[in-house]
Subunit: 490 residues, 2 copies
Amino acid sequence: MESLRTRLARITHLNQAAAVLEWDMETHMPAGGAEARSQQVATLRSLAHELLVSDKTTTLLEAAGPVSELDADLIRVVRRDIEKASRVPSSLIAAMAEAAGRAKGAWQEARSTDTFSTFAPHLERIVDLCIQHAEALGYEDQPYDALLDQYEEGATTRQVSEVFEEVRSQLVPFAKEMGKTGVACEGPLHREYPEDAQWAFGLKMAERIGYDMNRGRQDVSAHPFSTSFSISDVRITTRLEKRFFNPAFFGTLHEAGHAIYEQGIDPALEGTPLADGTSLGMHESQSRMWENLVGRSLPFWEYAFPQAQEAFPAALQGVSLDDFYRAINAVSPSTIRVEADEVTYNLHIMLRFELEQQMIAGKVAVSDLPREWNDRMEAWLGVRPLNDAEGVLQDIHWSLGAIGYFPTYALGNLMSVQLFDAAYAALPDLDDHIRHGDFSALLSWLRENVHQWGRRRTASQILTASTGADVSAGPWMAYLRRKYEAMASR
Amino acid sequence: MESLRTRLARITHLNQAAAVLEWDMETHMPAGGAEARSQQVATLRSLAHELLVSDKTTTLLEAAGPVSELDADLIRVVRRDIEKASRVPSSLIAAMAEAAGRAKGAWQEARSTDTFSTFAPHLERIVDLCIQHAEALGYEDQPYDALLDQYEEGATTRQVSEVFEEVRSQLVPFAKEMGKTGVACEGPLHREYPEDAQWAFGLKMAERIGYDMNRGRQDVSAHPFSTSFSISDVRITTRLEKRFFNPAFFGTLHEAGHAIYEQGIDPALEGTPLADGTSLGMHESQSRMWENLVGRSLPFWEYAFPQAQEAFPAALQGVSLDDFYRAINAVSPSTIRVEADEVTYNLHIMLRFELEQQMIAGKVAVSDLPREWNDRMEAWLGVRPLNDAEGVLQDIHWSLGAIGYFPTYALGNLMSVQLFDAAYAALPDLDDHIRHGDFSALLSWLRENVHQWGRRRTASQILTASTGADVSAGPWMAYLRRKYEAMASR
């Protein structure tokens, strides 16, 4: 067991080092460093892969005698990792890396010139390779299952479709109604917010909710993200817009939510592959909980609004808490996912999920994608993209080969409410705590039920154990109705 | 050859990744990340070592057929690296790492409490392990040769002693004379220098002399350093003192000098162990050339002083170029190496070199070190440390196990003048170029004669080819006399 742990630590250290190099690439690296850096990361990832699937690792796994519960979990997860990693031929991985390298450039050009045809042949190649990838990984029901499983272990296309169908049937009319009544004016959010003050206010609140800066830090990057180099070094990035409150503030809460998850993993898992979030959906449930369920709630702003007024006097002097609360919760259907409000966001995801599935199943051709996209957008959200750049070309994911990734965003939203409801049931005074800026009880509940486990439990196991049910549509829809009805009757 | 290159690239990438992780540790890492980070770096360095000394690398080296001149250099240097790396048992490396880990903490405590006895047993252990290390590495004449060779390949104790003796016999009286006449008042350097302006002015001049910011960047760290992640990503750090011009400005020129060397290596060497400075002495010759021979010269300030006055109006208004030039060249013997002026610096090094040698040769006991240190300091520099914290405990090097490292600082100073004289002979208008802020001819000369070679040529080969002689004392002493005589007669 000791030799196995040493070997797994080496694999973990290689992957953690790769994460440091990728973080530096997005935050600090001079432009000239890009090519050598990509090669360095590729070497680290390859060595980690080779060590994982090597005969010696398998021998050590088989030789491990009677072990603790934790070690048993470790052996089980590593076996599964090896099994999956061994199924995919390295030629296919190399082909995907090469195709993605080209597709990313083509996508950038296609988006900036609004010519889908520039990207189409690359996407066709990506789809083809994803189908091969799915065949190599194997599946029970349909190829898309295998792709989904990479990001959300154990989730199936059928299960996710059913949940999404239920959401969509209620959400489309709800979003239309909300969008029509126009809950509030976003005006106060588009004023002068000095960058220094945004930085300080965002970090202050991130620390307040539980982001440990002794084991974290924040940098600037074009696309915000969170990354973990160990349980005791988990970083976030943000971006600042001078005249818009939302990106930095809600982005910081969101990334801090991811980071708080990683910081909360049981330290006994350090140096093993268990020291990671258990799925992308569960990860997103944590970022969304702090961003939306806490960060866009009235109790939170009863606590935070006076401090926000102090931090941004020019923007928020004379603005009432009520107006501010309505502004940050305004519903306004638009064509762009990353700008979507809490209500309409999931519709953007469901559109992508449906199209991904149908591409992989051979039911939608890449050439038909723009029309299929725009038709659904109009039917579900009531808006039609003016061009492909703000339609089918808006996201980078497909150009990276990441098909099966999008649904985890919506699954995370659904899980966040299921978990929050369970925390609420266990902590009846939660609103009061939040109203007084005390987030420790919620954090402890999350540590206990979600964070500490790392990959020892799957998302489904965590949800079932802590909420009594697997991922489902009802709680999220009920939460939205409660929230917006209360807002309307204020 | 192709397989060999691929394998060497992997080794290089692992070492480059370790450098990124170490850089981050000094510049950005949150305090909590230290323990996991040390383990990550250790894993990367161990894997690089294992790949280097593995049978497969040797097989590939032996199988390489007729090759280009560059590949022949590559094979020769890698063979030498492997041979050296194979001589030292890993148990000794581990013992040194452990001893150094403890010694560093003990040194910090000893220095802060001024109790040499706290550090002494750790230093005894370090000296003992260094002797074992020297025996493992092997040597012709004396054990210290083997230690010196780690940092300055091919240099011998005898050769360095002879050169240093010659310097010292002339330098001790010269420094006393200079220190007595008191060349200038340092007053103008200890005024209000706003940190932002220091940062901008230092970087502007670093870029001006040739530091390519498209392949570089600067961060803040407690102890300034330069580090290379590839030929196209070479970074520096600096530290800022609000009321002292020197640390940031001359530190930035110094580190930029190191970085310019690394940036100037032939791109064909990228991804091989040849893409590195050839020795610490040669590296220091480059940092010192830009810091002192250019950066403390009159022609440089004829160009830069008006800009400095613009950047620091509060400090430099009403100060004449002449006063400023005298201030940055003031000679003032002191007990602290890192604060030493251009004249007395080498005496600090020679003191350490002599004591290191005698410790390794068993001629000076660790317990006698403070007295031996203070006596030499008084005899050579005319000052006696008030306590061990500002005496024998001032430097970190020994606690890290780096015995044999110090002499490279003085060798670098000597080499810098030899190279500068040769450049001067080849570029008779050099003073005029510098006076007009044009450093391109000097840079080209250094690229051609020093930088491009990486580790293809040793320091001695580079010096001999470009200056006609190996490292020697005469040019440096002659330079000092010229400079200070000219200053006295102004």
